[in-house]
């Protein structure tokens, strides 16, 4: 709260991305000043954590035109996040260090509810944040992996796909088969028509990436868990840009839209580049 008050007193734009319940509490506490703070529901806007960096980027571009400082609060992690979502939130938190130009006058606070989250989650937060505050005490995080290490989680393998899942090797001539395979699996899993089409659109773009940049093709794997259909593409390509899919494409740019689209069509997108190639895992909630 003092963080928001200080920002308002200094005339700085303030954006708070958190859960609705916390937004309501902050609004009540801010009373007449609540109108000066921008709020967004993290559960909606940042449900897929890969959509959060573009929100910060837009806020910075709008708010700090004249070099004016801006400040924000972002709370992407809550106890109900699934393990895959949590991994991506942690990756997002680490990437934020790389995404925002260090010269940008932004002061970003990422609250962690240490009483509700597991100790490992809080320990990872110490590795992804340069400064930590506990109570009123702010200090440098001794565990911070630094800007140089902020891309490290990109090369940590994902948990293996389940044995016996539906799989299909594909090449340049098989894109229609990839779409049909995803469509059939998604329909059988019970994904509703609109959401199924969104998954197909995303899957097609990722398959195209494998064909164009991943050695001419790849392998599709499909399975489901209790909450989502999961559609995985693996190929022999390398992704060198950890920010891929998190920069709003400009109208003029030729490429760079596939994973951006996937992030907006899916509930979660996991990308890892390993020595043997790249894996992209799309999650679409049932």
């Amino acid at each position: 709260m003092p963080f928001i008050r200080d920002g308002l007193d200094a005339g700085e734009p303030v954006l708070v991305l958190t859960a609705v319940s916390r937004i309501d509490a902050l609004r009540a506490e801010l009373r007449g000043d609540a109108g000066q703070v921008q709020f967004a529901d993290m559960a909606q806007a940042g449900s897929n954590p890969a959509r959060i960096i573009p929100l910060w980027q837009e806020f910075i571009d709008r708010g700090s035109k004249d070099g004016r400082p801006v400040r924000g609060i972002g709370e992407p992690i809550w106890p109900e996040r699934s393990p895959a979502e949590l991994a991506e939130c942690q990756w997002h938190e680490s990437l934020l260090n790389l995404a925002i130009d260090p010269a940008t006058p932004i002061w970003l606070l990422c609250p962690y509810d240490a009483s509700a989250l597991e100790a490992g989650v809080v320990a990872e937060a110490h590795r992804s944040h340069p400064l930590v505050t506990e109570g009123d005490h702010r200090r440098e995080s001794g565990a911070f992996r630094g800007l140089g290490g902020s891309a490290e989680p990109f090369s940590v393998p994902l948990p293996a796909a389940p044995l016996g899942c539906r799989s299909l090797a594909f090449g340049p001539a098989d894109l229609a088969t990839v779409r049909a395979t995803v469509a059939a699996f998604a329909a059988q899993a019970g994904l509703k028509a609109e959401r199924k089409d969104e998954l197909i659109a995303a899957a097609h773009e990722v398959a195209c990436n494998s064909v164009q940049h991943g050695g001419g093709g790849g392998e599709l794997r499909l399975w489901r868990d209790h909450r989502s259909v999961i559609c995985e593409f693996s190929d022999h390509g390398r992704v060198d840009d950890p920010m891929i899919g998190r920069r709003r494409p400009s109208a003029r740019s030729a490429g760079g839209r596939g994973l951006w689209l996937a992030n907006h069509m899916c509930d979660l997108v996991q990308i890892r580049t390993l020595p043997q190639g790249t894996v992209v895992r799309l999650h679409k909630r049932l």
């Binding site: 894109l175 229609a176 779409r179 028509a193 609109e194 199924k196 089409d197 969104e198 197909i200 659109a201 097609h204 773009e205 195209c208 064909v211 164009q212 709003r248 494409p249 400009s250 109208a251 030729a254 839209r257 596939g258 951006w260 689209l261 907006h264 069509m265």
Partner: protein, 131 residues
């Protein structure tokens, strides 16, 4: 109903459109001239396999100094490179011969917005579109 399919996913184009001769055909797409509108109708799939040919087909129709109207209600699937074919053609168009998209399936309309092509000067999305 599938969002990938437009308003008229059957055999016929939308009401008010009459089809003439095919001007482009491949394994997954047929483009026909339409009468009386200065336009083209699309049926099938536009993707990375035929996007270059679609862009060339569109650009070849742009030299008539009139808006080019595209009937898209029977596009079963278009990927980002397919949409980019429309964008490339729109970039070649000027104020007189802009490209107008009709019957755009609602998912495609969303994709165009998400990838940042909804406000190009040469590309207009008609309100008759599905979304």
């Amino acid at each position: 109903m599938s969002l990938l399919k437009g308003a008229a996913s059957g055999e016929q184009p939308m009401a008010g459109w009459l089809e003439g001769e095919p001007m482009y055909t491949d394994r997954q797409l047929v483009i026909r001239h339409t009468v009386p509108t200065n336009g083209l109708s699309f049926a099938g799939t536009i993707d990375v396999m035929n996007a270059d040919q679609v862009a060339s087909a569109l650009i070849s129709q742009l030299d008539q100094g009139l808006p080019l109207h595209l009937e898209l209600s029977r596009v079963e699937f278009s990927d980002v490179s397919g949409i980019r074919a429309f964008v490339l053609a729109a970039e070649c168009a000027d104020a007189r011969n802009r490209i107008v998209l009709h019957g755009l399936p609602s998912l495609l309309q969303r994709v165009i917005t998400v990838v940042g092509w909804a406000d190009l000067p040469g590309l207009e999305i008609c309100s008759c579109s599905a979304g």
